[in-house]
């Protein structure tokens, strides 16, 4: 039994009073005195026991405290409480006044690019370059900005609805893919690039072995070949292949507006390396066909599809990431004869694109090859007001790229660049590459090809920052009547 301090004092006091009062009255008998002494001894024993228990408890508490640790006083605790309240107040205030808020989950990203381009190709005479020569050179800037996030999060099955909006800014010439626009001095171009909603149709809880299928509606890159859609993991060059140029196979070089399904089947999951490689990937969809930021220009839709096959292999196999792909894009276009009244109008001219590609992305080495064939209907006699006959032109572009990564080679590895760190450390990756790129605008005409060969070096020295430099030699077949040229492009790209 435990005695509270107050009770014990009272008990002792009462006992002493009893002794004292009994001194004034009749003297107590020995028996009574012994009883009182016995009561006092019991009280003292209980007190001693209690003191011992408290000492033991104190010792246990001391043992549980780490060596060298200091005990906090009430004032210390009050101090911490006060700081915590300050912190809560500041957090609430900063959130209200100094934090960008959005109604849904949002990730803001973008890039800033500074570049320098010089070329031996004689440029046309302009007010800035009245002689038309010597070679054109100049600095350029560009920027992209993106907003992406989640509109509906399905915790149970991961069938999430996501969105993405992205813009690009560039000088007008670059923004229009080298079109012949003549912008006024100081003009800038800001364009929408990606605008889409994406829904995951299959369960997607992060399991490597689960197949995936998404539906994407809006303006987006199309799943054709490699060049038009891959990231710098497979495309080390600053420029893209010639066949994607505006005057070439432009349908596949532009974003399109439409609905596209993308998925994969039989993924090979190697959890020993956190590696996933689907045996088949597929994509199919329907799009307007006339590019981005514009309404449909004909009554028919274009259809596209792509299938890839990845050789089944574990991460440590030399066959890792050996992939074969075929792509198809079937479109329609309107044809009008020239002249004031346009009497010849056709809406069933075909635009067919077929592609084949191989990629071997086996860090640190990588090889990609892509061939894209296009066939295009055009009026045989566009100046005629009555001739409705068409002719089909066939075009072919091929591009081979070989690259080698060295340094930390962690740029594209979700394992190697996710490391514990205190500061903004990022593994550095260097990359050298060679590219051979040919474009034949008409397979029925001999000696009309353009061949570009590029050697370059890329340095990825922060999570989102890279420096790229490339030297390109362009050679034209004789029928094109152009002088061969050499270009040097250097650019820094900073991401945020």
């Amino acid at each position: 039994m435990k005695y509270p301090k107050k009770q014990i004092v009272t008990a002792i006091g009462a006992a002493l009073l009893t002794l004292a009062s009994s001194a004034n009255a009749a003297p107590p008998t020995t028996e009574e005195l012994l009883k009182q002494l016995s009561a006092l001894r019991a009280t003292v024993d209980a007190l001693q026991k209690q003191v011992k228990e408290q000492a033991d408890n104190l010792e246990k508490t001391r043992e549980s405290i780490p060596q060298g640790a200091e005990l906090a006083t009430t004032q210390d605790v009050e101090g911490v409480r006060s700081q915590l309240e300050d912190h809560k107040y500041n957090t609430a205030r900063d959130r209200e006044y100094k934090t960008a808020l959005s109604s849904r989950g949002l990730t803001i990203g973008g890039t800033l690019t500074g570049s320098y381009v010089t070329s031996t190709a004689p440029s046309a005479s302009t007010s800035n370059n009245p002689q038309g020569k010597p070679a054109e050179s100049g600095f350029g800037v560009g920027a992209t900005l993106s907003f992406a996030g989640n509109l509906y999060k399905d915790y149970a099955e991961g069938k999430n609805l996501d969105y993405r909006v992205a813009f690009t800014y560039a000088n007008p010439k670059l923004a229009n893919n080298n079109s012949t626009n003549s912008p006024a001095l100081g003009d800038t171009v800001t364009r929408l690039t990606d605008v889409y909603l994406q829904y995951s149709l299959l369960q997607n809880l992060g399991a490597l072995e689960d197949p995936k299928l998404t539906a994407t509606f809006g303006q987006q890159k199309i799943p054709f070949g490699l060049e038009g859609q891959v990231s710098d993991e497979l495309k080390p060059t600053v420029s893209t292949a010639q066949f994607l140029g505006d005057s070439n196979l432009k349908n596949i070089g532009h974003r399109q507006i439409g609905l596209i399904f993308r998925g994969d089947l039989f993924p090979n999951a190697d959890y020993g390396f956190n590696y996933r490689a689907p045996l088949f990937e597929y994509a199919f969809g329907v799009v307007n066909g006339n590019g981005e930021n514009t309404t449909d220009d004909n009554t028919r839709k274009d259809y596209l599809g792509r299938v890839t096959f990845t050789v089944p292999a574990d991460y440590n196999s030399w066959l890792r990431e050996l992939k074969f792909g075929v792509s198809y894009y079937g479109g329609w276009k309107n044809l009008n004869s020239t002249g004031t009244n346009f009497p010849v109008q056709l809406d069933n001219a075909r635009t067919i694109r077929k592609g084949f590609d191989i990629s071997y992305n086996h860090n640190p080495i990588g090889i990609t090859y892509e061939r894209a064939d296009g066939s295009e209907d055009d009026l045989q006699n566009p100046g005629s007001l009555t001739d409705r006959r068409t002719r089909r032109t066939k075009k072919t572009g091929q591009v081979l790229t070989v690259f080698y990564n060295f340094g930390d080679i962690a740029q594209w590895s979700k394992n190697l660049n996710r490391v514990g760190k205190f500061d903004d450390f990022w593994p550095t990756t260097s990359q050298v590459y060679y590219r051979y790129d040919t474009w034949d605008p008409n397979n029925y005409v001999n000696a009309d090809r353009t061949i570009k060969q590029t050697i370059g070096y890329n340095l990825f020295f922060a999570e989102t920052t890279k420096f790229q430099i490339g030297l390109t030699r362009t050679e034209y077949d004789r029928t094109l009547g152009k002088a061969n040229s050499t270009d040097l492009t250097a650019q820094f790209q900073y991401g945020f």
């Binding site: 992060g206 020993g272 390396f273 574990d314 440590n316 080679i409 490391v419």
Partner: protein, 355 residues
Amino acid sequence: MKKLVSVIATALLAVGLPLSAAAEESPKVIRIAFSSAGVGGKPAAASGLLATAHQRGIFEKEFAKDGIKVEWTFFVGAGPATNEALALKKVDFATQGDLPLVVARANGLRTKIIAKDSQFSRNYVVVPTASPIQSLEDLKGKKFTVQKGTATQLTLNRLLTQAGLKESDLKVIDMVSDSQKAALSTADVDASLQSSTDLVSRGLVRRIFKVDDPKLTAPSQIWVAEEFETKYPQIVQRFVTTLIRESVWSVDEKNRDEQFRLWGKTGNPYSDYKEDFSGSKLRDRLNPLLDEYYTTSIAKSIAEAKQFRFLRRDVPTEGWIEPKYQKAALKELKLEGFWDEFDGEGKRKATASAK
């Protein structure tokens, strides 16, 4: 002309060979990886001999005299990330759990196991506080989060087998450690295997099962890349000798609190380690010996990895476990018999006289 070429070639060989041989004697840098990172990606590890060695900077001191740098990496992606680093020749030494280790071996990655890092670890099956789950049997059909490809997944499968369940009876969701805690806090998953007390002390989860049977857990180990070992055996020996020397400090009960505080730099509370190691001798948990318990355990892990279909190939074990560096270190440091050996069941075999 031919003669001149021959003379130049001979001269180059004469000059070049010793240079290249000298270059082979010691690397410029030793790259050591942990298959873990601290809370929120802090570059720190805990609960093993190598973690303490890192915190106390003993390898830096040992190799500084030769101008050899020591680089440490902490992979958030755990053992599978370490495997990728090994495949790309980006790591020389590492500590890893059993499942990623045997999967790597089956896939042709070459390592030599040179010491145990820790053993007899403890884990708990935890569920959100308000969950109706009371036992392992109740987990059937529930969402269980684990980082796939890690030793914890193998532990989970052993545990489920004991409870008469299979992994396919559960909805297993792959998440890294920090994500697991976040999902448990919001009850977006039904259960997980956790060793940390932080969610328990905040009242967010409760423990329903303690996993501390040596048959359910497996030791973690330290390996060296075989290519590095072939090239720099003397550096491997110095590495092991330094580690063993440091381990004497680690297992000294006087240093228990200080060591736990060092491990607390991971962001996990001191109390986690205090509780985890309560009732255990440091010398038993932090035991580097490649003893019978270790060899039995790794053989069992291989068999179980096959049984649970994490492996499709055989795992060649010949020459994999390399105790020679450890034996030489124990002899040099006069520490033979300092640590107890354990049998295949995880029971103490003999008590050394030097205790």
